[in-house]
């Protein structure tokens, strides 16, 4: 039958001679494709030029320019930048206790936000990935994702109302004697934790989802109770996902100034200082010097976690 369909005329033995083609069009000559196929560097160049060029020309150049600016000064009255090299700004930023305190405070806020989010995200991500039924899983992921679309500003502002004296938090917490922390550093930590929480849950959830069930079963099989399994098997495997989450929460918190403005009361963060200098005081060189602090911190962090494979889990 096969032969009949494929070769209505002629015997199959005729085929190998190559004469009895049944109208399959011949292969076209594709010069460009063939060229690309032969030269892998050409393919690579075609792929990498535009995005890498973009990143370097737009972003790295801009960062480099900013770094250079940090060594300049500005005439504060006319606002003209003087391009004489000086370490004045850098020295001021690194030695002035005010900036050291602000840096430490900002770091503390970022670390606290990261830890809070981590502690909240772990159980819920675990529940979604490994306990909830397939249908619930989908619903819960959507439920976690949705707040991402509510405006950041609106969320911060909502927290302003929650935290207000006599606001939602006090109103709810009154029976258990809960008091609002007011507009303060604590408020900033709370609000940032809230805003960045989905960014922590999602990668951790994906991480949990990737741990094969058989590993968990193997652990139970070898006598480990669920808690031990979590500690010895799940968490180590999750490390890259967790770090991916912390990159978001940590770096987003590190550079924030709007939340600090809205609920921070008197709290100053690094972002506040940068913003005050560039947006208000028109002192870009000094702002650049201050922004070196988060750049250095984040770069070090990225460099340290690079080898865990976390960067592939963002």
């Amino acid at each position: 039958m096969a032969t009949q369909i494929q070769h209505p005329s002629g015997s199959p033995a005729g085929r190998p001679g190559g004469s009895a083609r049944t109208g399959v069009p011949p292969l076209e000559h594709r010069r460009v494709s063939a060229l690309l196929h032969r030269n892998s560097w050409l393919r690579l160049a075609g792929l990498v030029t535009a995005p890498a060029g973009w990143l370097v020309l737009v972003y790295i150049a801009a960062l480099a320019a900013l770094l250079i600016t940090a060594f300049w000064t500005v005439d504060t009255f006319t606002g003209k930048v003087s391009t004489e090299w000086t370490l004045e700004n850098i020295v001021a930023v690194t030695t002035d206790p005010v900036y050291q305190i602000i840096t430490l405070r900002t770091l503390w806020i970022a670390v606290a936000v990261t830890l809070i989010d981590l502690v909240i995200a772990l159980p819920i991500a675990f529940f979604i990935a490994k306990v909830a039924s397939a249908r619930w899983q989908k619903l819960l992921v959507v439920a976690v994702l949705m707040p991402l679309w509510a405006s950041y500003l609106v969320k911060a502002y909502a927290w302003r109302n929650v935290l207000a004296e006599g606001g939602l938090l006090e109103w709810l917490g009154a029976p258990i004697g809960l008091q609002t922390p007011g507009y303060s550093q604590t408020a900033v930590i709370l609000t940032l934790s809230y805003i960045w929480l989905p960014f922590m849950i999602l990668p951790i959830h994906a991480g949990f989802d990737r741990v094969p069930d058989s590993l968990l079963e193997a652990s139970g099989d070898l006598g480990a109770k669920p808690w031990t399994t979590l500690r010895l098997v799940m968490l180590p495997i999750l490390v890259p996902s967790i770090i991916a989450g912390t990159i978001f929460t940590f770096s987003l918190s590190l550079g924030d100034y709007i939340t600090a403005q809205i609920v921070g009361g008197t709290t100053q963060m690094l972002g506040t200082v940068v913003y005050a200098n560039v947006g208000a005081a028109n002192n870009l060189p000094f702002a650049a010097a201050v922004s070196l602090i988060p750049i250095v911190i984040i770069t070090i962090y990225l460099f340290v976690v690079r080898r865990t494979g976390a960067l592939n889990n963002l």
Binding site: E165, G167, Y183, T266, T272, A276
Partner: protein, 369 residues
Amino acid sequence: TTQGGGEAPEATEKTEIGAGEGQLSVLAWPGYVEDGSNDPDVDWVTPFEEETGCQVSFKPFGTSDEAVTLMRTGQYDVVSASGDASLRLIAGGDVEPVNTDLLTNYPDVYPFLKDKAWNTVDGQNYGMPHGWGANLLMYRTDKVDPAPTSWSAVFDDAADYSGKVTAYDSPIYIADAALYLMKHQPDLGITNPYALDETQLAAAVDLLKKQREHVGEYWSDVVKEVQSFTSGSTVVGTTWQVGANIAQAGGAAVETVLPEEGATGWSDTWMVGAESPNKNCAYLWLDYIASPEANAAVAEYFGESPANPKACDLTKDKNHCETFHSGDEAYAEQIWYWTTPVEQCVDGRTDVKCTDYSAWTKAWTEIKG
């Protein structure tokens, strides 16, 4: 040399207003330029556009400092500059002198707003006065007793309401402390809160650092501040009249007072960008915005005193000008309008160098800590 220590660049003054160029880009405080997109009832841009054919694009700024930064890009034709921005703009050559003769509404403007340090350099006028207001002291009548009459409520006596004091979030607020010191520590020799030498600044910074311990929140946004007052998170602190109005309208038990020391305040001037390609539209705007109708609408919407007395008749709230002490020259006299602190002391001292705005900025960061 100018008063500000910067060079006032020579510019050829305009001699007539020609036909509009068809477009105008405006940099202003939020609320100064409304085209009905936020509230259909609040619209004074559309009539201008219809009248002159100049299409307005608008960019708001949050603080005077931001205004200076933005104006420096040269992308704006006109700007509403407060006193703490105007001198910097003039010195930087970002704005150019204005031939007030071409502005039909200029003659109507209150005389006490004309030819002032923040809008006139070397006798050259740099713009059209627009409106002014004072930084007042607001307090919760139910929480603050007795009613304060002095800024000491937020300085020396701030501990009474620790954590519930508010202050304006800008380096220019240092002037408020300086004003307080001027009255309470005369031996410091402060004669103008915008002319502080190193020791005077240090004293002001000290005062503010002490205040900082009791500040619950710094505000740069008047509604944010009103909210804090309404909820009770804040009970005493500096405000604008408009804030008090909103709070009272919302039923909050607040009252304002112009304290015995006097107060700082702002007086805004519309200026023309030096590199503006739309000079005709710019002049048309300057003239239009000080017209009684427009000035009334802006003053009422933003909450300040109009510069044009004729505007007082056109406000919806007939008491507006009274509430804001519009024509009250005595009241206006008590106000130290925002001026950019510069090295060359604005109080005329020549024996010392004054601290400039960048020193104030650094000091402000230090105060907030």
